[in-house]
């Protein structure tokens, strides 16, 4: 059996101009994006002009004036997460936005500490650094690839040792869509279009990248 992540989360981040106080559990329930029960049981961390953040059963919403994020740590809710964000920006379709990211985070556990060291050495061979650094150790690997579709943006990958799973690796995939440049923005109606047509592709691409990275190590 292939290694399974011990922790995985997926988030959709939209960069733009937002009014955080809109994004309360009651607003999501009133628009039938989450159930009333979920809204009533939600833990509101903060609702204030610069930031709104709450956790519902499967969902975390965090909104600042320039950034909207919806996230789940439970795989059964990945598609509901997508639907929720599609719905939010169908309702708020004139909101000015400039970028969107479909992000996947994974924590995998190594078989043992030796496997952890071997993985670090595989990504950043010590021998390449020993003549300029004393006892060099792998820290973080960033790899950026161009988008393979018609959009501007990039596919960004980060790998490092996990702080949650010991010994473990943390892998982040950021499937980034750059929708506008500099001070320009576009209307948020583009978000439902992209999520509706490119979600499965983005998610599959992320999984493929993760499989590639974990194939470089010895994981449980």
């Amino acid at each position: 059996m292939s290694p399974q992540p011990k922790i995985q989360t997926t988030s959709i981040v939209v960069v733009g101009n937002f009014t955080p106080t809109i994004f309360q559990p009651s607003w999501f329930a009133a628009n039938d994006l989450i159930t009333k029960q979920e809204a009533e049981a939600a833990t509101v961390e903060i609702i204030a002009p610069p930031i709104a953040q709450f956790d519902a059963e499967w969902l975390r919403i965090s909104v600042t004036q320039d950034r909207f994020m919806a996230q789940t740590a439970q795989e059964p809710y990945y598609e509901p997460l997508r639907d929720l964000v599609i719905s939010v920006f169908t309702l708020l379709n004139h909101t000015p936005v400039k970028a969107m990211g479909i992000n996947q985070n994974f924590h995998y556990q190594f078989k043992d500490s030796a496997a952890e060291q071997a993985f670090g050495n595989r990504l950043a061979p010590k021998t390449d650094w020993e003549d300029v650094l004393t006892d060099p150790k792998f820290n973080t690997l960033f790899v950026r690839g161009e988008r393979p579709d018609e959009f501007n943006g990039y596919i960004f990958t980060r790998a490092e040792f996990s702080t949650k799973i010991r010994p473990g690796a943390f892998i982040e995939i950021n499937d980034h869509y750059q929708l506008a440049f500099d001070t320009e923005t576009v209307e948020a109606e583009i978000i439902p279009d992209i999520l509706g047509s490119h979600w499965a592709e983005s998610m599959a691409r992320g999984r493929k990248i993760v499989e590639k990275i974990i194939s470089l190590g010895d994981f449980k």
Partner: protein, 193 residues
């Protein structure tokens, strides 16, 4: 990265970082918080809960807001961060389905595999599998997501089946109002003719 005195250092592999002395980070594991100027717009600061599900806890606030809110509320939020990912669902099979017909105790649905090896099939699903708040959504044509797997939580592992009906806004009230007024205009044109 954050130094052992709980304040932000000035350099790290991620680029150059700003010291934010108004933020007391003493209560947090030093590896898990990252304080940096925002990369894509000026006068903002990023507080990122590194790596433990990092982006979930990333917060961007402008400096005045940061001083006003972050010391108390946001740091409390960060403290609670782990609680949110304590429950993980390991999916064995996942389908997307739509309702064909609804009976007294079950509904018939066509399901297509999203994850796991399974061919398209029809299934009879007990209504009692569905949460009360989704009952109203069980109609022919309604889309749902069905996952079977293990739920790993603080109290151990258990097998779970989760069915969630789709809640999707593809048409806004404004769209409906606009369509209605266009229909009225057309009707009056026909009536005039």
């Amino acid at each position: 990265m954050i130094s052992s005195d709980g304040l932000a250092n000035s350099t790290d592999v991620h680029g150059s970082f700003e010291t934010v002395k108004s933020v007391n980070l003493q209560d947090f594991p030093v590896r898990e918080l990252l304080v940096s100027p925002n990369q894509d717009s000026a006068n903002q600061t990023v507080i990122e809960h590194l790596n433990g599900g990092s982006q979930m806890f990333e917060t961007r606030l402008n400096q005045t807001s940061l001083q006003q809110y972050l010391e108390v509320e946001q740091l409390d939020t960060l403290k609670k961060a782990d609680r949110w990912i304590n429950t993980q669902f390991r999916t064995l099979q996942k389908w997307e389905g739509y309702v064909i017909e609804v009976g007294a105790e079950t509904f018939r649905a066509k399901v297509v595999a999203l994850l796991g090896e399974s061919s398209d099939m029809e299934a009879d699903i007990y209504l009692e599998e569905i949460g009360e708040e989704d009952y109203a959504l069980i109609k022919p044509g309604a889309v749902f997501y069905w996952s079977i797997g293990y739920l790993d939580g603080p109290s151990g592992r258990r097998r779970e089946s989760i069915i969630r009906f789709r809640r999707l806004k593809t048409v806004t009230k404004r769209d409906l109002q606009q369509a209605e007024s266009e229909a009225k205009a057309l009707r009056s044109l026909f009536n005039e003719g």
